[in-house]
Subunit: 218 residues, 2 copies
DNA sequence: CTCCTATGGATCGTATACAATCTAGGAAGA
DNA sequence: TCTTCCTAGATTGTATACGATCCATAGGAG
């Protein structure tokens, strides 16, 4: 199975995973030689993986200086949120227009598990289910260009936001439920509005939590 | 000057240029060996260039089958237009919010030359100026995430639309003037509306011209 | 005549090797 | 002590080499 994938893809997935789960921290240098030894492949697939990840915005590539995990400044976060909120809105609107029963069923399934996890799931589980909900919602719009663009933006925001707190998780899934209901009802306007607001809400919640943490650290 | 760029970047720019100006046609295979001989570099930079271009959507990469110039199907065009129209709208809105005098001056300059070229410029000149106007408009919003996303989408649409007819060029620049006026006035709503509509209009104009050509070919 | 199969060339994926450049750290001089 | 310059090691950029896979074509069986 995974033997059939190219080493470049394996390396790319491994590195991306380690960046997203925090094993590799923002700013950390990604030396090709070290990674190639760690992953048991030569430098060529590692280089190609890093090149791809830099296009996704997860890795910063400086000529003759090498690669490092992208640092996400507050300004970049604002920009990401602004763009992503708009696209999530469009996506939800299109999903509501189609409201494909098959994908709706999948979304219902994710929603159910997400609600359960919001009560007593691990943070990792919550993060995974959150990604799954948005991934499936993205498929529901049947626009591959939009899907590709959003996937990249989502990864970068999740890089910035790390893990959410439990209280926010409950709100998260309540908002997810609202979006899904609008999609099922075919209410394009409402779906778009809720999805856009959902992104902004998550950003605000994170900013607030972050500010408190910073204050506590003082 | 260009000696200082990496061979990967040189190869990437060359290939991109040939795709966008039509030297390389959609569907055409891009064999690494042939390109490396043509460009006078080894296969490694060529591979890395192709990888990058595939991320931009200009090149299609199939495992073990190699690269080819991306074919842009009508469905993909619709998807591109839908997303790009929305983002151009957001971009124009942000540009209007800032209405930075420095960038407005640059836009005025491009607009002036564009209007002149719409009367008696070559199609290549028109295409270049069109790209320049949108490029500068994109900078006016001061959102790098948005800029990166839009650049990629613009290249792919220009790949699909090729060169516009002269009558359309005149409308094009009239619409550009309208957008710029709204930006200068700081009228966010109007700027967004006009920019969104501009993308749709261009798509409709192209579809109409294309339909006529097809009919003539029968 | 059609379909299947074997074989060779074309092409990609990966490893290894070398050249170019950068960075860190110490020695020498002010 | 501070600054500057230089050297050695580390790291990236590129070239070359080889094995793996794909594809077209020719030849034989039905």
């Amino acid at each position: 199975m995974s033997d059939k994938d190219s080493l470049t893809k394996i390396a790319s997935d491994r590195i991306r995973g380690q960046i997203l789960d925090g094993t590799l921290k923002p700013g950390e240098r990604l030396v090709e030689d070290r990674l190639s030894v760690e992953l048991g492949v030569s430098r060529v697939p590692v280089r190609e993986a890093l090149l791809g990840l830099s296009r996704e915005g997860l890795v910063r590539l400086e000529p003759r200086r090498g690669a490092s995990v992208a640092e996400v400044t507050p300004k970049i976060v604002d920009e990401l949120v602004e763009v992503r909120a708009l696209l999530e809105g469009l996506n939800a609107r299109l999903a509501a227009r189609r409201h494909d029963p098959e994908i709706v069923a999948l979304l219902r399934d994710t929603l159910k598990r997400g609600n359960a996890a919001a009560k007593d799931g691990s943070p990792e589980m919550l993060s995974r289910l959150n990604a799954e909900f948005h991934e499936r919602l993205t498929e529901a719009s049947r626009n591959s260009v939009l899907a590709d663009t959003m996937r990249s933006l989502r990864e970068r925001t999740s890089l910035a936001f790390a893990l959410n707190s439990r209280p926010r998780a409950r709100d998260d899934w309540q908002e997810h439920a609202g979006i899904l209901a609008a999609v099922i009802a075919g209410d394009e306007e409402l779906a778009a509005l809720l999805a856009t607001r959902h992104v902004h809400n998550a950003a605000v919640a994170f900013a607030k939590a972050h500010a408190e943490t910073d204050q506590a650290a003082d």
